[in-house]
Assembly symmetry: C2
Homo-oligomer: 887 residues x 2
Amino acid sequence: MAKYVYAFGGNKAEGKAAMKNLLGGKGSNLAEMTNLGVPVPAGLTLTTDVCIYYTNNKKKYPSQLKAEVARQLAVVEKKMGNKFGDKQNPLLLSVRSGARVSMPGMMDTVLNIGLNDTTTQGLIKQTGNERFAYDAYRRFINMYGDVVMGVPHEKFEQQMDKIKTARRVKLDTDLSAVDLKKLSAEYKNLVSRETGVKFPDEPMAQLWGAITAVFGSWDIDRAVTYRKLNKIPDHWGTAANVQAMVFGNMGNDSGTGVAFTRDPSTGEKLFYGEYLLNAQGEDVVAGIRTPQPINKAGKQKGSKAKSMEEEMPTNYRQLVAIYKRLEKHYRDMQDIEFTVEKGKLWMLQTRTGKRTAASAVRCAVEMFREGLIDKKTAVLRVEPDQLDQLLHPMIDPKAKVKDIAKGLPASPGAASGQVVFSAQDAEEWAAAGKKVILVRNETSPEDIGGMNAAQAILTAKGGMTSHAAVVARGMGKCCVAGCGALAINYAKKQLVVGSNMIKEGDVITLEGSSGKVFLGPVPTVTAKLDKNFKTLMSWADSFRKLGVRTNADTPGDSKVARDFGAEGIGLCRTEHMFFEEDRLPWMRKMIMAKDEAERRSALKKLLPIQRRDFVGIFKAMAGLPVTIRLLDPPLHEFVPHEDAEMKRLSREIGIPLATLKAKGESLKELNPMLGHRGCRLSVTYPEILEMQARAIIEAACEVKKAGIRVLPEIMIPLVSHVNEYTYCHERVVQTAKKVMAERKVKVQYMVGTMIELPRAALQAGRIAEGGAEFFSFGTNDLTQTAFGFSRDDAGVFLPEYVDRKILPSDPFQQLDQEGVGELVKIGVERGRKVNKKLKIGICGEHGGDPTSVYFCHRVGLNYVSCSPYRVPIARLAAAHAVLVNKK
Amino acid sequence: MAKYVYAFGGNKAEGKAAMKNLLGGKGSNLAEMTNLGVPVPAGLTLTTDVCIYYTNNKKKYPSQLKAEVARQLAVVEKKMGNKFGDKQNPLLLSVRSGARVSMPGMMDTVLNIGLNDTTTQGLIKQTGNERFAYDAYRRFINMYGDVVMGVPHEKFEQQMDKIKTARRVKLDTDLSAVDLKKLSAEYKNLVSRETGVKFPDEPMAQLWGAITAVFGSWDIDRAVTYRKLNKIPDHWGTAANVQAMVFGNMGNDSGTGVAFTRDPSTGEKLFYGEYLLNAQGEDVVAGIRTPQPINKAGKQKGSKAKSMEEEMPTNYRQLVAIYKRLEKHYRDMQDIEFTVEKGKLWMLQTRTGKRTAASAVRCAVEMFREGLIDKKTAVLRVEPDQLDQLLHPMIDPKAKVKDIAKGLPASPGAASGQVVFSAQDAEEWAAAGKKVILVRNETSPEDIGGMNAAQAILTAKGGMTSHAAVVARGMGKCCVAGCGALAINYAKKQLVVGSNMIKEGDVITLEGSSGKVFLGPVPTVTAKLDKNFKTLMSWADSFRKLGVRTNADTPGDSKVARDFGAEGIGLCRTEHMFFEEDRLPWMRKMIMAKDEAERRSALKKLLPIQRRDFVGIFKAMAGLPVTIRLLDPPLHEFVPHEDAEMKRLSREIGIPLATLKAKGESLKELNPMLGHRGCRLSVTYPEILEMQARAIIEAACEVKKAGIRVLPEIMIPLVSHVNEYTYCHERVVQTAKKVMAERKVKVQYMVGTMIELPRAALQAGRIAEGGAEFFSFGTNDLTQTAFGFSRDDAGVFLPEYVDRKILPSDPFQQLDQEGVGELVKIGVERGRKVNKKLKIGICGEHGGDPTSVYFCHRVGLNYVSCSPYRVPIARLAAAHAVLVNKK
């Protein structure tokens, strides 16, 4: 015969932590604490099997269940020293759900079971507090009436409002014991009226009503939906925990509190918490009374508040012994809840404590040093995404501010500054020593200068991989993108958001990690990369298999990334180099050339500039591989958008304005993302590719001559057909041969390709046959084309897609493993089938997203590449990928 | 021991047609003719094995080869009655290559082998024509010197020019026998000078030099490249044919000609050809003398030219007997070449005759009736693409015109008209009774009216599936797209193309099937769909397995397509309905709505209009399925582009101009192809989907009540994730239930989806699980996203891609079977795995392209859908797919 009921309490429990599937998370944890000798209010857990039986058998319980509960309940009474339904000293019970995994707030709970007109008198006797007893009673009727008997909560509220109006008071707490007694009676009438059934006074009937409601709540709509979304199987069921109630408000020998076994902000090894004398748990949270510190160490300087250590020294000592035991047992920092009832300490809960990144890192490193955990566990204790907090300023958590709008968390950090509406203004204001925030509908490559000059960037359109977002992340600069609530008027230089109107020069603050926008300046704080951080990262590195590279376009970025631990450059976007002052005119002249000869003459001017760029990058990455992508964007991006700019260009390069405009017009595309770009440019203008290949190899020769090891990897973008690849590959190789012969230096280099189009993924085998020595998955473009989503335009509907759960997350943030991921897998398999040594990486924005990094590890990539500020995140995620897979 | 040499001539050959792999196409066919008793100049074929041996053995021949050739050559001499190298009556030989498949012009040929100073005297004796003999001699030295000895042809030309200058003549034919004799000597000196080797006089040495050159030419660059491009294996090798020369210019008992066994223009059963008395084959082609008709039936009325039938009655009778034998033997219309040498008829070649579509259809049907071929063969005799000629006007082949520009053959047909530069002008001019050609950089949906009013459309940008191309094909209207040579100036209302300037009102002519643009009017001709055509199509229908539907948006189009044999509508694009005068303002009001309520009120106005459209289409397609795609394009397409239009709209719908403009601006997208469109619109504005579903089901109820069978299939566009599909599917089903309850009619309907994104193809299984009852592959968008090519922008580089053989063909014209095709295959497999009855079709433009149709058949689709005018092509292609697969 199956055992359906597991008792706990009084130093002994029938269950344990390992029985989570049968007893649920809550039940098994209560059992575990009990067995540890921690004083836990006694109770019993009805197993998940009961729930399953109930569901499968037309809402009937196993025949022996009632008897078993009754028998075990007697044990609880004995352990607690009171009696369920007793007139003098009544035991009150709670019934709580508890599934295998936490489903917060999804299922039902009933407290204070066992109260009726008679037992309430017993409670008064025990507590000497009539108001408390009737308050408990009316809360019970409300909760039971709602949860078990289906009377809507509003109906009770209406009754409450009526009595408050009559008494001319505003708060529930202003009502007297008499009022509450009256209210209890009215509540019971309300239930009878609404349901046609008398409110049950018999405690055992109440208990079974509550148990049935809790099991039944496994199948209410919100729980079913939650399970569907979180992929929790319906057949798991929930357990039900019947537990003795304890009260911290039974006088000055009672109290309640919460505490952390270490400092959740800093990780310091310090018992840290708050408590209230003669109070219930909810009073600590509600903020009506100011909680007192739990110990002397936690007291604010000069504070007169007494600590628990001083007021309840015995219970405090018991608590310290218990927290130490718990931390040692669970081998992690614990967040505990306790109540002292008439001098007796009860532990109500212990769970892993939430903590800041800094705290997580310190706890992990110190717990390893204390011998509490091993290195693997230490590494797994810090969530990769958390590290962002350490790498960027944040809004000071103590600042009391409310955001005025929320956009996408495009690039982390926080910054305040004066609003400007154009890149040019940003540059001018910044040159004049002002801190500015650049606000645009969207940004384009010619805004680079202004973006660089600004403290942060705010855009109304565009998603997580829009131009603004990608560039800002590369710069490590705060950016909030796709903030649809903004209505920007460039002409008037103002923006309206809700009821706020913001003019040029007004100060705003952005927080990039949350996407929040604040009015005025807001203080920010920056965490430090301390020794603990470095230690933890070195442990992570010792576990991970995936290489971690960075996406960097300048020697400066390369340096930052290298300091963060990047092992090479996975993506150097040469086009970003062309937007700088000294080269843009030549780039434009090249684009505007009327024939190949003119184009070649402009390219000749660009050659030494590019070479210089590469020399700088090769030196910064000495000894590490550098993947350089050949020119990728459509040429139109380099053409000036404004008339004045066009005129200046016409003067600068000596081409008539009308000709320039006509040429600019002819370059415009309806869908530039799918237009004349990537290797298509190299096919139609092979001279551009030749110039770039020459600049790379010349730079490599120069650097090698200087005695520095250089490993260039030349990457051909946007290949869809092997013939495009071989066309470009051959020209690169020819150019390289020529340059090396001229310079009399031999450098090692590789030629490979981006896999960023679905067709390329499918044809990866043929492309490998075509000679590609490495692949780099461009998952930004691959996501765009697999889904048919323009990253610049999807901001209009993607948030709604995520809200409505049509997509689990923004696929530009987290790699869509099911769809885009299958293309990656196919690409890897087919590429490696031809060349099993094929070096394969990823250089889309996903390279810095932990779940995407796990995926990259699983499918066997050699490395991920991400923006410099995400390199530590990727390193840690890569370690997690190994350790979690091992488990 | 392998047999390396096969003789033919004198009624007996050692080879036959079936030995093509060993003897090559030419050699096996010469053998076949010989065996048929047709008089063929005798010769011998050196097999492809010799070529392979030669290649694999360091350019050595098999040891026994020389002896075998010498032995067989003696037989040839006996058969021809002259002798190789003879002073009196020399046999001259040709050596020609001949691979398994034709590689026109890729390999070498040497004629007149055996001439030297001595044998030339013999030739003079035989012909009595000294000039002819020396002309043959100098041609031989030139050809041999070039092909065998590697002296560039220009060098010979320079000698020739020198002598012409000296003689003050312009043409080769003006040189005398003496001149040519001198030239021959100079040519021989030239060869010695250039090569340091004496020109070989010994005929046998000449022969082996020529044979070696021919075998060697298998591996020259152009041949290797040609094989690579046409996927011909290198190891096939070529045969070499050594054949006796015959001359038609040996006097008035000699002549030469070409003929067709039936009329290649009409297919009439009539022997048809041209000949010249006392002439060489090249004279017929060169056009120096006007050829004479071959028989009296072929004489132009009133012509005085004598026919062969009159001038050489005996040889003519022999020729008639031979052509009949050949046609009967080959069971197809033959294109034959013959020469009469001194009263003796020789057949030089017979091959399948090229013919017009009309001729192909008539020949096929009549040959079946004559018992010459079976029905399957008849159906296979007509190339599906050829039918286009029958369905559209063409430029009169007799018109002597030169095109001024060439664009993409976007939609077939031909038309002349006056140039206009805006859709509005097109409508106004057409209303005034003028025939106009609409010329634009590109067209957009608001140009529909003007496109409809125009005779034809010419665009400077855009590819085969650009808006202009797709709409024009749907209308069966001629269109030339992506004609990059045009420089259009809208302001001045003129266009420049090369040195021509064309103003508004000037007449031009377009030919859509070739993409050519002509200045001025050009006469056109239209073929008729006669009884033979209908017969052939009915045979095709009896074989094919694939269904053929049409893409049609109006009752008119539906009717046309049904007349062409469409078995349903595979794609009805509802958005095209919204551009008409009476509904565009409501559509725009709906788009400009500030909230859902306003949107719903505009939709209410659109509902009855849409319902009426569907009623019309359902009636036109009574009893056949109609697939209706829900609104697909981004809303911005419906917003006016011009200021004046915007103002008018503001007045019409009573929304302030500034508000309209701001809204219009906010709808603009950087990449509208990947933007807020397709089912994404239905997710964010479900009320649009509900209106359309309601209109469809209401219309279906109405039509069913009228006693007409109706089979609507509601298609959800641009699905990438199953959740999008189910979101829309559920709303369609709910709406349909509601409508049927209201109307008290039950109609059968299906709900399904387009598979037009790579992710959808990969996730086809899940989408089928999500309830999709049918799939329709939207291969236009699938091609765009798989390749990352915008069909509107790819016109800039795609032609170059095809020219450089980077792509075998424009993937928007012919389905890319390797890449896009794999996605289709994956989609079919995964969809059918879940639901093996899943109905699957294709509705991209590829549905009307024969090779794409073959592919659709192979992967097991249920139907293809194409524009009305391509329905017959698809029907025939679907039959070929079955018949060719069977072979």
